[in-house]
């Protein structure tokens, strides 16, 4: 059977999630073979490639916002989940305490150190490999720490009296090193690390993180080993502060909303979503329903992306039947906020790489079984 010619309106209806006063409708995707009789919904890379669109809204090191249009929720969600829990990241994993006479217990200090985000040359980070800790009791052979899987960092701080301290001064005025900051963590290059990380040495992303407070005579001396890890194992390995997406809101004005009502309608939405304009010749050509109201003010959707879909407009009787709210099922507005180890856009590319790697690994396992 030849696929029926579908109107744009029908296609739009299919991929619009309905948002009603008390319910949501049309949530699940229906683009599977056999769902719509006579249509070819089989996977086709050409169709996917033609339908996929990426639009950037913001791209800085710390934050990237972009739209992924024409992708299924299951795949978009896979990327989001991978960003949070599976992109490999470098963080302090093991602490060897040579000395700690501060008031903070070793284990608490070790935990704090682990949570400090690190940065370093991207080339160097690419060079790093997984480290598997030996665990003979559970039959895990593991591996030796080496320059390609372990980064060594040192923290040595000793608090002392300043010469001629003021009698009633602040601790900072009276002692040297009364505060231990992330900037006091020093990297010790091993083997080839010196050349791999020559563009940017390994260091904390934010040098001003307060780690501990000391008083004269107290001393902290720690050797730390940083390894690659996954956010799923510990949050310190998560490369993002947040990685979220939301569906593009859709506001349809079914009947003209005019004058005072238009201004009230505008107030139901965040600033910039709805525009109130005078009906002119151009507006009439765009929407024939506006013809009798030339010269009056009318409400117009300006930027649905800014909407929060609060549904406030659905609470007013005067807008009943005049507006329809929804969300576009395959338009994902991603927001990725990096912790500083990788640029945010790069993180998304890494997440795609991880998903591909997962599929390749499974394919290899399947080949081993099949043959």
């Amino acid at each position: 059977m030849a696929p029926a010619q579908l109107s744009q309106a029908e296609l739009d209806r299919r991929k619009t999630v309905g948002i009603n006063p008390e319910t949501v409708t049309n949530i699940t995707s229906t683009d599977f073979p056999g769902h719509h009789p006579g249509e070819d919904a089989a996977w086709s890379i050409d169709r996917f490639s033609k339908g996929l669109e990426v639009k950037f809204h913001k791209n800085s090191y710390d934050e990237a916002t972009f739209s992924l249009i024409g992708i299924d929720a299951s795949v978009a969600n896979a990327f989001r989940r991978i960003l949070i829990a599976e992109v490999p990241t470098l963080a302090i994993e093991t602490c060897y305490f040579n000395n700690n006479t501060s008031v903070i217990a070793d284990e608490v200090l070790a935990h704090r150190l682990g949570l400090i985000p690190l940065k370093g040359s991207l080339r160097g980070l690419d060079y790093l490999k997984w480290y598997v800790r030996p665990d003979p009791e559970n039959g895990i052979e593991g591996m030796d720490p080496s320059d390609y899987n372990t980064v060594v960092l040192n923290l040595y701080v000793k608090c002392e009296w300043k010469p001629n301290p003021p009698e009633n001064g602040e601790p900072e005025e009276k002692y040297n090193h009364s505060n231990v900051y992330a900037r006091d963590i020093k990297w010790e290059p091993m083997g080839r690390q010196k050349e791999e990380f020559e563009d940017l040495e390994i260091q904390p992303v934010n040098p001003d993180i307060l780690i501990a407070k000391l008083r004269p005579g107290q001393e902290i001396d720690i050797v730390m080993h940083a390894n690659l890890g996954k956010g799923g194992d510990h949050a310190k390995f998560s490369p993002v502060g947040t990685a979220t997406y939301r569906l593009l809101p859709k506001i349809e004005i079914l009947k003209p909303i005019l004058n005072q009502d238009a201004l009230e309608f505008q107030k139901c939405f965040p600033a910039g979503v709805i525009d109130v304009e005078y009906v002119d010749a151009k507006a009439v050509t765009e929407n024939e329903r506006l013809r009798p109201h030339e010269g009056e003010q009318y409400a117009k959707v300006k930027d649905p992306m800014k909407d929060t879909v609060s549904r406030e407009c659905l609470r007013h009787d005067k807008f009943k039947g005049k507006v329809k709210l929804g969300r576009v099922q395959d338009h994902f507005i991603f927001q990725v906020e990096s912790t500083g180890q990788f640029p945010s856009d790069r993180l998304f590319l890494e997440s795609v790489k991880v998903l591909k790697y997962k599929a390749q690994t499974l394919l290899r396992a399947l080949d081993n079984i099949d043959s």
Binding site: A41, I45, L52, E53, F66, I140, E141, A359
Partner: protein, 133 residues
């Protein structure tokens, strides 16, 4: 600490692929990545996949369901504290496609899709960066 020199000679012998396979084995800690569960027939099988969750489960389910020869595909994580994911595939009995074929095609389609996403994303970003200047 040992040095990366030994590793380099390994890599030079073109064993990068094997290297990654070895790495996988180490991370699995001796478990099988893929196991076929009992009850397999000519057009249906359930697979147990080690160290995977909803990330791969749901997206793989999507790609396998996109195959017209597939009658049913669903996944489950039988127990939340075990890192195992089960995926069930049934294909139509009037097609030559087996559950294995459907799984293979699903994975291949996913790899293809990832390449397209990478390409489009990179283009869009480069275009955006260029337009900023």
């Amino acid at each position: 600490m040992s040095n990366s020199a030994e590793r380099d000679t390994e890599m030079a012998n073109g064993e990068a692929e094997e290297d990654s396979a070895d790495e996988q084995e180490l991370l699995l800690g001796g478990l099988e990545k893929l196991v076929i569960l009992p009850g397999q027939t000519s057009h249906a099988a359930s697979f147990q996949i080690e160290q995977e969750d909803h990330t791969l489960g749901n997206s793989l389910r999507y790609f396998i369901n996109k195959n017209p020869d597939v009658e049913f595909c669903g996944y489950t994580i039988p127990h939340p504290s075990e890192t195992k994911m089960h995926i069930r595939i049934q294909t139509w009995e009037d097609t030559p496609t087996t559950a294995f074929d459907a799984l293979r095609k699903g994975l291949e389609d996913m790899i293809e899709a990832c390449d397209v996403v990478t390409e489009k994303f990179t283009d869009a970003r480069d275009g955006f960066e260029a337009s900023k200047q």
